[in-house]
């Protein structure tokens, strides 16, 4: 595996011109908000750096992240990225199966100990590790085992990064994120449900070129997760002008107005969807008319409801309000009756006076 052809040779065989390759490196640089001066470095790194071994572990996941990363707009280039790394283990993409597949993983771990990159998608169940096993090995064990010799871990998708859908209330499997289990290795979180394909490849490219990118307090590369959807959304002018869609397919919805009132989580969600978009920049959920779910954030499944605006209380407040009305009324009646009783007592104790009874006896 280590002696796969270098990228430059692959490019020649696939008929990718150098010009097209540099164009790709340029777009990658701009997507990561790097200066154009970085482009040669990216090109050089991608072309010439030794191709590290990558072990992709899939745990409690839906395979959406893999689907996304392979649903790329320029398969040949993305493919190249896969050829700039040595993908030694991946359930969906590998040719081997069964014992042979596990053997490939173990071999890569042994041969490149301390230097391979582990990519994880899916959460890890710890309530009963038996909930998710591969070849009889629990996710928990496989992760610990494989991470031991990793140079870095990339948690791809919100499940691996934060627990995702498995972690959502009531979390029956005890699903947790990679970072809950591995504490002694650098972890890059690339959340999203799924993450944007070019974000995933961009992070990998950055890692190959410059190492671990600058991460925010949730372990996400700031290049792709530094701004909120709200601050980059093309519908922001409508928010500022007070023009909101009230329901799906109403005048506002068809007019492309802000989707805050339909539950958009844009203001609290950091992601690149509004700028980088999906499918080679074609669109993203808000542009398609659907409010942002907030899928790059931890616990987004429990954020009160996809169609409940951020400003609306998350609980069952209507019932509570009615209960409070009843309780308050009961207490009010009790209080008033107490007061009236006091007043009646005072009235009963009333000493009818005439003008001669108004002085105090000294």
């Amino acid at each position: 595996m280590a002696n796969k052809p270098m990228l430059s040779e692959l490019m020649k065989t696939h008929g990718i011109s150098r010009r097209a390759f540099i164009k790709y490196c340029t777009s990658l640089a701009s997507v990561m908000a790097l200066s154009p001066a970085m482009v040669p470095r990216i090109a050089e790194a991608l072309e010439n750096a030794p191709r590290p071994s990558v072990i992709w572990l899939s745990f409690q996941e839906c395979t959406g992240c893999t689907e996304a990363i392979t649903r790329s707009h320029a398969p040949t280039i993305e493919d190249l990225i896969f050829n700039a790394i040595s993908l030694d283990y991946h359930h969906t993409l590998q040719a081997a199966s069964g014992h042979a597949a596990e053997a490939a993983r173990e071999h890569a771990m042994k041969e490149h100990y301390g230097k391979y990159v582990v990519v994880v998608d899916g959460s890890i169940p710890i309530k009963d590790p038996g909930y998710s096993c591969i070849a009889g090995i629990s996710n928990l064990d496989m992760l610990k085992e494989t991470a031991a010799g990793a140079a870095a871990i990339v948690s791809v998708g919100t499940c691996a990064a934060y627990g995702g859908v498995g972690h959502a209330d009531p979390n029956p499997t005890g699903a947790v994120a990679v970072s809950e289990i591995i504490k002694d290795k650098p972890i890059i979180n690339v959340p999203g449900c799924p993450p944007i394909p070019v974000v995933m490849t961009g992070v990998l490219a950055h890692f190959l070129t410059f190492g671990i990118p600058e991460l925010d307090e949730l372990g996400r590369p700031k290049a792709f997760f530094g701004e909120s959807i709200h601050d980059r959304c093309y519908r922001r002018p409508f928010y500022d002008k007070g023009m909101f869609a009230e329901s799906f397919d109403d005048e506002g919805a068809r007019g492309g107005w802000c989707l805050y009132k339909l539950g958009c989580k844009g203001p609290t969600t950091k992601s690149a969807c509004a700028t980088v978009k999906w499918n080679n920049g074609v669109s993203f959920p808000i542009e398609a008319g659907h409010p942002c779910l907030g899928c790059t954030e931890p616990d987004f499944w429990d954020n009160g409801g996809f169609y409940k605006p951020l400003s609306v209380p998350a609980g069952d407040y209507r019932k509570l309000g009615l209960a409070a009305v009843a309780g308050g009324a009961a207490a009010g009646v009790a209080g008033a009756l107490l007061a009236k009783a006091g007043k009646a007592k005072a009235a009963k104790a009333h000493e009818t006076v005439d003008a001669h009874d108004l002085e105090k006896s000294s």
Binding site: G335, L338, K343, A346, H350, D354, D357, K360, S361
Partner: protein, 430 residues
């Protein structure tokens, strides 16, 4: 039986009802009531802020009439009211408030502070904290029929005089007539010419009337004292006499608190509606004017202005009637600023005028009225309350102001188109 703290507190408890509760709940401590109060505005002393005068009642309401307040009271967050508190508040509730009602009109949340002062006084009077002069007046009124004591001889003398002057008969205790007239002690003592005026006007309008020997006094010191037992007893006298005589109505004279007591508080004090109507003399004169039964000749040429008695206009609802009458008989009637509903109190009402301890304060409070009058510079001030009349007479003298004060009924009678005027006019020409 003598006054005690408990009796006072009980009296206050009896007074707290839904309006009072809503008022205390709504007060936001904005202090705008102070800007309307003559006592605050003339002294700039914040202790005269109207709602502050009610703090003791507020504490009782909070501690005993609200669930949350009860709990707060248990933790010592709301203190019970003591006798010392009542003593300290006596000057605030009696000396610095004429119950003029301006504060009730400016409160942004709609508190009727004046009504609450009236209620507060129930607690004060029952606990022995009312001013001695008011207690004295109440005693005299109870025992001798009038706050000025035995006034019957004076009344009879004045009636005799009026009969002689007008040649029109005035009968006491005549049953079945249209109206029973009641008079304020102030009128009988100081402004008795109103008898002749009424006599002539009623004759021309073909109204029959009488005065009751047992219930001729209109003033109700019970209102100023703030004691419903005294107030009720005094109203009952008038009601009994009127119903015994079977009159259609009782005429409430030019007296502020009399109108409040009989027309508005009375039925609630005695617990039932009357079998007769109550009409203020000026209301009646305006009614007669409207019916064409009040004809005047000639007009007064002095520069006149009008002073609205608080209990009759702002607190009583009689606003346009005196003005229509003024326009009938005055050539040069000029209104002051704030005329009508927001007119400034003369400082004499609500028991303040009788209260010797309050004299310096009342003197200061006149400043507001004085400013009004100085701007207009009238030759005479017309009013429709004998006590305002009396107060203004005195205070104008204290301030070396030269205006005269006139009563509206008398002024109207002066221009009445009747034989007496013709005779006088003829006499003048001759």
């Amino acid at each position: 039986m003598s006054a005690t703290l408990e009796r006072g507190l009980n009296a206050l408890r009896e007074q707290i009802d839904a309006p009072v509760a809503s008022f205390f709940s709504s007060c936001v401590s904005c202090g705008l009531c102070a800007e309307a109060c003559i006592f605050y505005r003339s002294t700039e002393d914040p202790k005269y802020t109207p709602i502050r005068k009610l703090d003791l009642m507020r504490r009782i309401w909070s501690r005993e009439f609200t669930l949350l307040g009860r709990i707060a009271g248990m933790f010592g967050l709301v203190k019970p009211v003591t006798d010392d508190d009542l003593k300290e508040w006596e000057t605030l509730v009696y000396d610095s408030c004429t119950m003029c009602g301006r504060c009730s009109l400016v409160c942004p949340v709609g508190n009727d502070i004046t009504m609450m002062i009236r209620k507060m006084r129930e607690g004060m009077s029952a606990s022995g904290h009312a001013p001695v002069e008011l207690i004295g007046a109440a005693e005299r009124h109870t025992d001798k029929g009038s706050p000025m004591g035995e006034l019957q001889p004076a009344l009879h003398a004045q009636v005799k005089h009026a009969i002689a002057e007008t040649g029109i008969e005035i009968e006491f205790d005549k049953p079945g007539v249209d109206y029973m007239v009641i008079l304020s002690a102030q009128e009988i003592a100081e402004f008795p010419d109103v008898l002749a005026a009424m006599s002539r006007i009623f004759k021309k309008a073909e109204l029959t009337w009488t005065i009751s020997n047992e219930a001729f006094e209109a003033t109700n010191v019970g209102i100023q004292l703030g004691n419903r037992d005294v107030a009720r007893m005094l109203v009952q006298r008038v009601v009994d006499a009127a119903e015994k005589l079977g009159v259609k109505g009782v005429i409430s004279p030019e007296c502020g608190h009399a109108y409040q007591a009989l027309r508005w508080e009375g039925p609630n004090l005695i617990g039932r509606p009357y079998k007769f109507e109550v009409i203020h003399i000026i209301e009646l004169l305006d009614k007669l004017r409207g019916e064409g039964k009040l004809k005047t000749k000639g007009k007064n040429s002095q520069k006149l202005t009008f002073h609205d008695p608080c209990q009759i206009n702002r607190r009583g609802g009689i606003n346009q009637e005196p003005r229509r009458l003024m326009n009938m008989i005055a050539e040069n009637f000029v209104e002051t600023d704030d005329a009508g509903t927001m007119n400034w109190c003369c400082g004499g009402g609500g028991g303040v005028g009788a209260n010797e301890r309050a004299e310096p304060l009342r003197h200061q409070a006149f400043k507001l009225k004085k400013t009004q009058l100085d701007k207009v510079e009238p030759e005479a001030i017309v009013t429709m309350c004998a006590y305002c009349h009396h107060t203004l007479d005195n205070v104008l003298e204290e301030f070396n102001m030269e205006q005269e004060v006139l009563g509206l009924t008398e002024l109207v009678a002066e221009y009445l188109d009747d034989d007496l005027n013709d005779k006088n006019a003829a006499g003048a020409d001759a």
